[in-house]
Subunit: 379 residues, 2 copies
């Protein structure tokens, strides 16, 4: 057998769905998971349980892998540099990945290559935050720890100098950003291979609720062709300039005056790309695998006029399987993607995809299924 072994660090749902996408390709999949019951560990054959923060564990795991890639951004950059120096193929590489790990490094680099970002500055203390606000249009100001945040964690919207104290308590550098007055959030997702080939998915709208992605609409409704092409071009430029290999999600703010500003980067499959599993000719998971293996990339084009993804969050009812009966009977074309996670209130435990020609109908079906699975509605 000459089929390569892909080593995936992290046992979350992204690893689970990447494994699923890799089965048809015949590639061998090896998982480094925190625990034996993590989302991906439940469905993968070759699982190593270990701590990704430990270099020796990573080293042992990487032996026998043709390429190592990631389900999350939390592997210490210095460990990745050490592995790379020892000949391990790490994709995306640490020099790219650091921009998804450290928001300060990301802002500095994007600004240097001319990518539009919110006004920003590393701040030292609450007084510095006050100065940053005064330099612009005042409070509110967004504060972010440069490392470790996700899904709204590690992010504060502060309205005055007193409110600016908490972010500094973690001892991590803090980035201040203007609070952008956006009309909506978009995501421009691209995939790039070591060969330099890249594909761009349609730009999508991402609807956030309480700082967590709730629904993604592909393509973003009523987005002008010009702004869509501009956003895709920005994402392709970032992928090239930062030498990204794999899937790159560029989260964007669309402003009232028709511009886009980069919010966040993720260098892995991303929630804003889950719609591609049922809505695109090639899913983000398969294209991520193809990219890290330096295979030619797959067609990113949509298969339906509209595809909508809604996340399924944990609610008060732990038995989501029972809800399948109603959801599947109501909508035989509903696509359910569950992660094998225990239900906890507010936790992402799955998502649903719907597609079709009528956007209102497609949205309603996704909304209903996500709410019914969560237990918010009982119909």
């Amino acid at each position: 057998m000459t089929f390569p072994v892909v080593g995936m660090v992290g046992g979350g749902q992204l690893a689970r769905m990447t494994h699923e996408a890799g089965i048809p390709l015949g590639v061998r999949f090896k998982l480094l998971s925190d625990g034996p019951q993590d989302s991906a560990a439940q469905v993968v054959g070759d699982v190593v349980v270990g701590d990704y923060r430990d270099l020796e564990t990573l080293r042992a795991f990487a032996r026998g892998c043709d390429v190592v890639t990631f389900d999350h951004e939390h592997v210490p950059t210095e460990h990745l540099r050490a592995l790379q120096a020892e000949g391990v193929v790490v994709r995306p590489g640490p020099d790219a990945l650091v921009h998804a790990q450290d928001k300060g490094v990301m802002r500095e680099r994007l600004t240097a290559i001319g990518v539009p970002c919110p006004r920003h500055r590393i701040v030292e203390d609450p007084r510095d935050v006050e100065a940053f606000a005064a330099e612009g249009s005042g409070f509110p100001v967004v504060l972010k720890t440069v490392r470790g945040g996700y899904d709204g964690k590690g992010v504060w919207v502060v309205r005055d100098v007193e409110g600016a104290a908490e972010p500094f308590r973690a001892g991590v550098p803090v980035l201040a950003e203007e609070k952008v007055d956006f009309v909506r959030e978009l995501a421009a997702n691209v995939v790039r291979s070591p060969h330099g080939q890249a594909v761009a998915y349609p730009v999508v709208e991402s609807v956030q609720v309480d700082g967590v992605c709730d629904t993604v609409i592909a393509p973003a409704p009523e987005l002008s062709d010009e702004l869509a092409a501009h956003a895709q071009q920005l994402a392709l430029t970032i992928a090239k300039e930062l030498d990204v290999v794999g899937h790159l999600a560029v989260e964007l703010f669309e402003t009232a005056d028709g511009r886009v500003l980069v919010n966040e980067l993720a260098m892995r499959p991303h929630n804003s790309g889950h719609w591609t599993q049922d809505g695109a000719a090639t899913s983000q998971f398969e294209n991520h695998l193809r990219a890290v293996l330096d295979l030619p990339l797959g067609d990113p084009r949509p298969r339906s006029r509209w595809t909508v993804m809604s996340n399924v969050l944990g609610g008060d009812y732990p038995d989501m399987y029972f809800a399948y009966l109603h959801c599947m009977a109501r909508d035989p074309a509903l696509r359910i993607h569950m992660y094998g996670k225990d239900v906890k209130p507010g936790r992402k435990v799955g998502h649903v995809n719907t597609y079709g020609d009528d956007l209102a109908d497609v949205r309603e079906r996704a909304r209903h299924a996500a709410d019914y699975l969560r237990g918010t509605i009982q119909e």
Copy 2:
């Protein structure tokens, strides 16, 4: 967790692809495999290596499974009856499955319920074959061992009484059938649940080469609506009358005078349904799982005008992975499904799916990829 455990007996590609389809549903998948490197065993987490012909092995495997289903028809019927008597949920059940295990039982039952079959009779020896031939239009006659055949194995086309000796050597009852003068082969695939819900996939054309399925075209080109509906109705009738649970493939001969006769039955996902992975709203694998779990069935409708599946057979070149470079670059929308099997000449090691609006183009793309992966062409 209340998600059920599906026990799959058999570690071949059908089990592999059923596992893949089960990951998004969040169902637990447990595999009984002949060996740790079988196709499905490579990609499943929970694998028991054991012999499906041994009742104690089956019994131990079935413990903790909410339902037991199959990748092949070879589990002894009496073992399945024993398991069922002990309370194991076996789907399809032995009373249904026996019709896919024993061609003699199948012919008798189908004839009894009025399903058109080729003229047939259980024969005792070569002289009896000669008598069978004389009762109809003479030789050639098709002889089949009633159990154990697949992909052309266990089937002989005999042209005279001397040629009729070999099939009797195995000591298995032999079924004689008229050699049907068909214009092409079709398959009518349906899925049925214990609730009695059933869905019918579009009727497909199956192009055989040397007795092995080579290409499947969905839907069957230029098939009249009347004959398509008739074939679907036949398959639904068989599923109901035989109390099939899960996927039922009904292989059909289309005759020059516009009739269909049943050739073979399979009560599991089937090669003639692989196109559904990329061509239907719900794949045969997912619908098989939904059926054995008694969940509402998924939409069987096609997503594209045409979908074509071509099998990838082993050729002289063992390194199919290298051929990915060319195939993926030439056709970014090509869907590759490999089974993780070692390449042996003539062995089914994977398949490709293509879809689109232009049948000639869709066929050419599938043909080219299958031939290139096999090494028959080098372009």
